[in-house]
């Protein structure tokens, strides 16, 4: 990944939002087709909410977009020159066996942020996410909500142009969910392009700019949030909004 320029935290907003294009992308494992082929373009400012029933391929799509997996067919392309700076927050935050602040410093270190500025940036981010009191607490003994906020803070210090979130609140209580959603909005306001999966219709209503609806490994519909929630175009989307079981 490219190295950072200081000031770090403001840099994302200065760039136009990157556009992501899926071109006949398919993914199969051991001969079993799990996703696609699907083609779509994510432009605009988002946030894009990827929705669909369980097993529709939401997480897979996110991992392909982020580059954690390579498509077995087709290609994933970005509009900007090269790959935009990205980060991802997982359903189960993966935190190192170190203190909260050391987790942030590690993320900065692997991204070649100069040693001197790491500590400062890390502490600023901790404060921003209300984690200052547990800065020196081992990350893995924090509560679920704190862990997820720390994962968001780790993404925050990397100042990504694109942030992927994979069901970031599915294991959290309402108070913690509120904190995560607030953080997502902040990323969005800072100019970070959000792509997030959720199976929670209410959460999607609260956050979505546009919706990418998947069912059975296929993209059924990609429309603005208003359209999707009021009059979905696809039959599967209609059924999903109506609260029916969709396969």
């Amino acid at each position: 990944m490219t190295s950072f320029n200081v000031p770090l935290l403001a840099s994302a907003a200065l760039l136009p939002p990157p556009t992501l294009r899926f071109d006949g992308v398919a993914f199969s494992q051991q001969g079993k087709a799990l996703l696609g082929p699907c083609s779509f373009t994510l432009n605009g400012t988002g946030p894009t909410l990827v929705m669909g029933p369980n097993g529709a391929g939401k997480s897979l799509l996110l991992r392909l977009a982020h580059g954690l997996l390579s498509p077995t067919q087709g290609q994933v392309a970005w509009s900007s020159e090269g790959c935009p700076r990205q980060a991802m927050v997982f359903q189960q935050p993966v935190l190192l066996r170190r203190s909260a602040v050391a987790n942030l410093i590690h993320a900065l270190a692997v991204n070649n942020v100069p040693r001197k500025t790491r500590t400062k940036i890390a502490w600023e981010a901790l404060e921003h996410f209300g984690l200052t009191p547990c800065a020196n607490t081992p990350a893995r003994v924090l509560s679920g909500g704190e862990q997820q906020r720390l994962a968001l803070a780790r993404a925050w210090v990397l100042a990504p142009q694109v942030l992927f979130l994979d069901e970031p609140t599915s294991a959290l209580d309402p108070a913690a969910i509120k904190g995560v959603e607030a953080a997502v909005r902040e990323f969005h306001q800072r100019g970070t392009r959000i792509v997030m999966t959720t199976h929670d219709l209410h959460q999607a209503r609260r956050l979505a700019g546009d919706v990418l609806f998947l069912s059975g490994g296929k993209v059924c519909e990609h429309t603005s949030a208003e359209t999707f929630f009021i009059s979905p175009v696809s039959r599967e989307g209609q059924a999903f909004i109506a609260g029916e079981l969709v396969e």
Partner: protein
Amino acid sequence: MENNAFYVALSLLLNLDASLFQIVALSLQVSLLAVLIAAVLGFPLGAAVALWRFPGRGIMIVVLNALMGLPPVVAGLAVYLLLSRAGPLGEWGFLFTPGAMVIAQVVLVLPILAALSRQKVEELLGEYREQFMSLGMSRSRMMPTLLWDARFALLTVLLAGFGRASAEVGAVMMVGGNIDGVTRVMTTAIVLETGKGNLPLALGLGIVLLALVMLINTGAYLVGELTRRRIG
């Protein structure tokens, strides 16, 4: 009373017997240095095998696992032939010195540290892989992070290596020569006293050795357990 091994062990310890102290000190020096060198080489090796996919990787894992059971005498013989004046490294003049014993024990301990750290690091990598890729880390950058985060598991691995090093006799006997005051360690002293028929003294030395190993293990366990509880 003099024929009771526990009595002998106790009086050896209480009298702070000078030659016993020297033997114990040399045992510790040789085994600790060997484990240290083996760790410096073995942990990165284990982590590298866990991280990279290369032709012959499977064979390498099998070989490392098999070498964990390498008979000490075979390791000793190999190092003896290597360090002997007639051997390739004879110029060093290392045979029958503590240095030779360290080398022999490194040969014995290295496969244990490499094979076990490979397992531990691979387990941890399974947990961290996606996050690491998301952070854009190269494999070589993952290595220090994984080794540090596996530190508690690796401490146990280190103890296993130390146990093997301090307990073995075949290799150090062969390359050290059990020279009084120079290369005599706990295990070779026990063999010597057994040979003299001084069974209570031999067993007494054995008890001292066991006590020492238990002391080190207890210390490491406490350090590990306390920190583990703190780190979670």
